[in-house]
């Protein structure tokens, strides 16, 4: 093994400077080294928001499910000393507050941040190229294309999903959630003054619960697809995915142009 390292296949001047590796790099490693381009796409606030948002939504889904369908009764202590449902609801409301602040922060960043920070909030309806690429992306997912295109920001399919499930979906959850919260906070409270009108519109709070509950399942569906797609594209596409949401850099695996 070690002699391979000292007898490289290429001349040393052919080897990129940065790839003059130490340690256990093998001949094959050195052979397969290639130049990769990368673009800084997601700025720190977007990445921070992404993971805080993902964590909050996970907490909201678990606790929300148990609000709608509580755990089996428990007998840990006297009722006055036991707070199982209370803590579940507390966690839901606490995560909801963080989610709300985060979402407003994200909207702020859509204005302050780079071009890609805006992508989640709109669909370029009148851009012909967007629709062409959307069809291409669909074909890629139906195994009709051998190779996907490269994208700096979201691909068109992702952009549509982000817009409907997150921009609109989270807005829906925030509105219905705060309207439910306003009921507990009481008439005349701040949440009530901000969101109480929703109950006036929906009329029956039971209906509001059902709408909020259905919204949760829409987000669960998004999560399944989103996480699958992120990992699949990370492996199969020509670009980085998961690490992009961690470091902010989109790395392309090849240098070919379309």
């Amino acid at each position: 093994m070690s002699d391979k390292i000292f007898h490289p296949a290429r001349e040393s001047h052919e080897i990129f400077k940065a790839s003059r590796l130490t340690g256990d790099a093998t001949l094959e490693d050195l052979d397969s080294i290639r130049k990769r381009t990368s673009v800084y796409v997601y700025e720190a606030p977007v990445r921070l928001w992404h993971w805080i948002n993902a964590a909050c939504i996970t907490v909201l889904i678990v606790t929300g499910y148990f609000i709608g369908r509580p755990l089996p009764s428990m007998q840990i202590a006297e009722a006055y000393d036991q707070f199982v449902m209370g803590y579940i609801r507390f966690a839901h409301f606490a995560a909801a507050q963080v989610l709300t602040v985060g979402f407003f922060g994200r909207i702020y960043w859509a204005f302050m941040g780079n071009h890609h920070a805006k992508q989640m909030f709109y669909i370029p309806l009148f851009n012909r190229r967007f629709w062409h690429e959307l069809i291409f992306e669909l074909r890629w997912y139906f195994f009709l294309e051998r190779e996907p295109k490269k994208y700096v920001g979201h691909n068109p399919l992702a952009q549509i999903a982000m817009f409907f499930f997150m921009t609109l979906g989270l807005t829906f959850m925030l509105i219905t959630g705060w309207a439910l919260y306003a009921e507990g906070a009481g008439q005349g409270s701040l949440p009530d003054m901000a969101m109480g009108w929703v109950l006036g519109l929906v009329q029956n709070s039971q209906r509001l619960h059902t709408l909020h509950h259905l919204g949760m399942w829409a987000i669960v569906v998004f999560m399944i697809i989103h996480i699958y797609a992120a990992i699949r594209e990370d492996i199969m596409s020509r670009q980085s995915m998961v690490s992009t949401m961690i470091s902010g850099h989109r790395t392309f695996k090849d240098d070919r142009v379309e």
Binding site: Y65, G68, L71, S73, N204, M216
Partner: protein, 358 residues
């Protein structure tokens, strides 16, 4: 018309003593959540103001509101308010019947034009020109419109007048329609419930008769003092809810211990009413206290929110037995399955490509 009759005159004529009258005034103030300073104000108003006449009409309904009303906990309040009302027109409570009753109806409208309060129990069915509910030989909707035209204000008694109630349940064959969707040009106060609590009814009517205006209303047009909070907010079983201790089956140990009825479909968390504070039958009990969940009778569409015994609403558009959870889990399961298949094909394709390239 001669001398104007005041409330006080009417009460004295009904044999109510001054002492009882003062008691009634303080009771009313307390029931309405007003301070002691309001007692003389109520007394003064009743002594000096001309009596407000009330016409009480009945559409498509079961008369449970009237039944509740005449059982008001405080006999004094009941006597007083009833004596003020039955004087004019109420086709189930008044002595007169038939043509005499209809004549009294017309007479009251003419005599007190623009001054009377119209209390509506039940609602008009609108299909077939309102032929599903005939009173006095005419569709009720005509009577309602006629009486509403010269009314000062309208009280919608109960879930029927306020929201439509069971006769408006989907598919609502007679198109039973709540009052505020038929009468559009009058101030309307909703006092929903099936029936509303007697003390709530007398409280609302007393407030209106003495102060000549509606009490403070919530967004849905209900008196905020009685419909401002949910059953759940003041339920004595709430500590068990917060603890996560629920009745799991009827007649289980938890039911005997009086745990929270949430899992048995209690609609207390979504129902605005005063049952958990005022209670029923002279404050003896209320549904939850006797071991049955709230069915949400004072809420719009309570009859169409699935079973009274399910926590989650059945959503009919998705089949007979579909809750949000069933729909969601089916969707998530389908998507999860599709993802798994897609992942498997992706892996195969990738392996294929690799062998091709090699």
């Amino acid at each position: 018309m001669g001398q104007i009759e005041t409330f006080y005159d009417v009460m004295r004529r009904q044999g109510i003593t001054r002492r009882s009258f003062m008691k009634y005034c303080s009771l009313t103030a307390a029931a309405l959540g007003l301070g002691p300073a309001f007692v003389p104000k109520i007394a003064h108003a009743m002594e000096t103001k001309p009596r407000t006449p009330v016409i009480w009409v009945h559409g498509l309904e079961c008369t449970c509101c009237s039944e509740s009303f005449i059982r008001s906990a405080h006999p004094l309040a009941k006597d007083v308010v009833l004596s003020m009302i039955s004087l004019d027109y109420d086709d189930t409570l008044m002595a007169a019947a038939g043509h005499a009753a209809e004549a009294a109806f017309e007479e009251t409208i003419q005599k007190y034009k623009g001054n009377y309060i119209l209390a509506v129990e039940g609602n008009p069915p609108m299909n077939e020109d309102g032929m599903y509910c005939i009173t006095g030989g005419k569709p009720f909707v005509e009577k309602l419109r006629h009486a509403a035209k010269d009314a000062k204000a309208i009280i919608s008694w109960g879930a029927c007048a306020s929201y439509g109630c069971v006769q408006a349940a989907a598919p609502n064959p007679t198109r039973a329609t709540p009052v505020h969707k038929v009468i559009l040009d009058k101030p309307i106060i909703k006092v929903p419930g099936c029936p509303p609590i007697a003390e709530v009814m007398t409280g609302v009517i007393t407030y209106m008769l003495t102060f000549d205006r509606f009490p403070e209303l919530d967004r849905q047009g209900r008196p905020a003092m009685f419909y401002g909070q949910r059953i759940h907010d003041k339920c004595y079983r709430r500590p068990h809810f917060d603890a996560g201790q629920f009745v799991e089956h009827w007649d289980d140990e938890n039911a005997r211990k009086g745990y929270c009825l949430y899992k048995m479909g209690c609609k207390g968390p979504t129902t605005y009413n005063a049952c958990s504070t005022v209670r029923w039958n002279e404050g003896v009990s209320f549904p939850i206290q006797s071991g049955h969940g709230c069915i949400g009778c004072s809420e719009d569409g309570f009859w169409d929110q699935g079973s009274f015994y399910d926590r989650l609403t059945n959503i009919k558009q998705f089949g007979i037995e579909a809750t949000a959870d069933k729909i969601g889990m089916t969707a998530a399961g389908a998507v999860g399955g599709a993802v798994a298949v897609h992942a498997a094909i992706s892996a195969l394709k990738r392996a294929q490509k690799k062998t091709e390239e090699a």
